[in-house]
């Protein structure tokens, strides 16, 4: 028998008979109570063929880690179609160290628009790291195109991160 609920006399409505404890939701999926949301975004002119450009970058605050949960990367102008590999986006976990986010190092299609980014399950970013969205132009003649993007998510105090976090 469920002891957490008692049946009201003569009625079919169940009411909790004790306080309901709501555990903290996992920080990799939800912003922590002390979390700070971010929605970094930006755009740059398409770099020359063979060159790469940082679309935008941001630094994780001291004492905080974070998770990226929304991604958008867009090409504005002519000369590109998804999956042509003519340009490649990469998400760097730490640009100065050259650390690329695993499985986000060879993005060959738009994963969402800036106004409607796609959801991801959480890219873990670490204290003081410089996170960046980078684009490489493989083979598109430059003619005034723009490349943009957005990374959304939240920072949280390192204390709120479970010790057994898997990534």
């Amino acid at each position: 028998m469920n002891t957490a609920f008692t049946r009201k006399q003569g009625k079919s409505i169940y009411e909790p008979s004790c306080a309901v404890v709501v555990p903290q939701l996992p920080v990799q999926n939800f912003m922590a109570p002390s979390g700070k949301p971010f929605e970094f975004h930006g755009g740059v002119p398409l770099p020359a063929i063979g060159a790469q450009a940082t679309v935008f970058s941001f630094q994780v605050p001291r004492g905080n880690n974070g998770f990226i949960r929304r991604i958008a990367n867009v090409f504005v102008g002519g000369g590109f179609t998804d999956f042509s590999s003519a340009i490649i986006w990469q998400i760097f976990l730490d640009l100065p160290k050259g650390t690329v986010a695993p499985n986000f190092d060879n993005i060959i299609a738009s994963m969402g628009s800036v106004s409607n980014p796609s959801q991801v399950d959480g890219i873990h970013i670490m204290e003081l790291a410089t996170v960046a969205l980078v684009v490489k132009n493989i083979s598109i003649a430059v003619a005034g195109q723009l490349v943009g993007g957005r990374l959304g998510g939240s920072f949280h105090s390192i204390r709120e991160e479970p010790a057994n976090i898997a990534f």
Partner: protein, 67 residues
């Protein structure tokens, strides 16, 4: 009307705006195809790889001429 056909030999009129590094003169290439959904852009294949190993290039159709 699409003026080039697949495999046609063309000349790409690279200029300062469209140049790949170290190459700004007309470059001989093969027309690969129009870009999907963008008939004013095309993919060309250079006969020899250029700076940085560039072999394929997406260019405006306006800078391509037949040869």
């Amino acid at each position: 009307m699409l003026q080039f056909s697949k495999g046609q030999l063309v000349r790409v009129l690279l200029d300062k705006k469209l140049s790949i590094e170290g190459e700004s003169a007309p470059v001989e290439a093969k027309f690969v195809d129009y870009l999907h959904g963008q008939p004013d852009w095309a993919v060309v294949e250079f006969e020899k790889a250029h700076h940085g190993g560039v072999k394929f290039l997406h260019v405006p159709v306006s800078v391509i001429e037949s040869r």
